[in-house]
Symmetry: C2
Subunit: 275 residues, 2 copies
């Protein structure tokens, strides 16, 4: 059962925000869907958000729907973690609620709810299909920061589900970088052999990708050198023989001013690959 929280016209299409009880995260979850004008079936792009975000940040600030309307593409904006009183949390903004890292936790107190990878690949597509006439053979995925990590890792692990992938300022190698190391220890520290499955650079080497990848990164991003490290992604792509178009953007930071500035490029890039 989905409860419709918002349902309004947007760019000639339709913007819907939904709440539902998730069987996978075991709590109420919200997400937003944009359906472009027309009948469909539409290609569809999932946008995974970064630390501290909900569906709302990208849906309101990235301007994505304008370009998706032009290209006839549906958009899905999931939340970044399970939430609520019964869900474990941490004082750090980079752990707990708002920081799901698109992985399934195996350790207490996170294991019962934190499973954003399975939520997005196993539960969400069926719900989206009830709201928008989506062509499930033409689905892409992108994301920002922690969500860029999510987009890259989920795409490479599920190539039958996602046919195109791009990222904005992604965390390039979760198991090598500070935020990610803390999260991997907290959520899956009892299974360190699995860490590489939740690391974009490592997934490039282990899983590869049958296609090209677009990554934009602001050169004035304050997290660039410590938490994002796009050169780790570039090295892995080169070793794995993956065509990575990594664009360093001078003057841009880590905010939605940056994401909005290159959103048209990403929408067009996915639209071309999902035609």
């Amino acid at each position: 059962m989905m409860e419709i929280l918002v349902d309004t016209a947007l760019h000639g299409g339709r913007h819907q925000v939904v709440r539902h009880d998730s069987g996978i995260t075991q709590c109420p979850m919200e997400f937003a869907v944009f359906t472009p004008p027309g009948e469909g079936p539409f290609p569809c792009l999932y946008y995974l958000s970064g630390l501290t975000c909900t569906w709302e940040n990208a849906a309101t600030k990235a301007g994505a729907q304008a370009w998706a309307a032009e290209r006839g593409m549906a958009l899905v904006f999931p939340d970044t973690s399970p939430r609520g009183k019964g869900v474990a949390d941490d004082e750090a903004f980079s752990l707990g609620q708002g920081a799901g890292y698109y992985m399934s936790a195996t350790k207490a107190p996170w294991a019962p709810h934190f499973a954003m990878d399975r939520y997005i690949t196993e539960e969400l597509p069926g719900l989206v299909a009830e709201l928008a006439h989506v062509d499930t053979t033409r689905v892409g995925i992108t994301g920002h920061s922690m969500g860029g990590h999510g987009a890259l890792t989920l795409a490479m692990k599920n190539p039958g589900q996602f046919r195109s992938v791009s990222a904005f300022a992604p965390i390039s190698a979760l198991s090598q970088l500070p935020w990610g190391k803390i999260a991997l220890d907290a959520y899956r520290g009892d299974d360190p052999d699995s860490f590489a499955l939740f690391d974009a650079a490592a997934c490039m080497r282990s899983h590869g990708w049958n296609g090209d990848i677009l990554v934009d990164q602001g050169q004035d991003d304050p997290f660039l050198d410590e938490h994002l490290r796009p050169e780790l992604l570039a090295d892995a792509a080169s070793e794995a023989g993956i065509e990575l178009m990594l664009r360093m953007q001078p003057g841009y930071d880590h905010s939605y001013w940056f994401v909005a500035s290159f959103m048209a490029d990403h929408i067009n890039w996915h639209a071309s690959r999902l035609q």
Copy 2:
């Protein structure tokens, strides 16, 4: 002296947020400016926001900078009122801080600070000129809701300053509608003869407008029948011989989903008239 709060690249141009001590509102004020790519001088569009908003709502949620970058147009996003501990306020969202109505108060406790009309026409242009290379002979004005009222009245009273005007869901006739009547009584109740100067429909009759006017209005706007009443504007335009393009938009509400959906049309409309 302006303090730069934000200065970042955006859509190939530059987004700046500034704080300064206003000589007119007698308090610190913030506003945002977008400068498109290139050298200028650029035509410039002022966007006046609605009740409860600051510069931030439109700057982050309307997607205006994307289209302004394409058309080589600068944008200015002022706040909607004076603010701060020493500034009078009211519990109602439609009076006091966040509700300046683009008029100068004559009554206590509002008179010392509330003067958003003079702030925008007399003080802001000089500050904008320090940030962006603007052509002061090619300036337009638009706004949403209370800001639509502001754009229409300021343009008609200052035709030498603003060459093009449009509005999103404007309050059509402040002196006839509930929010506006309360504000006029509070801010200028000692001078009821002046109310017509702060009423867009009345200004059409008294001042006229040498040009056309674009107004978009969502048909599902919950404030349509009680607070906005676009038919009052249409009647006045008809009597005054002003060419008003009033577009009723089915399915759209009063939110920034509506504003964002028609922002490209408004930017293009102003750009054509400011060429």
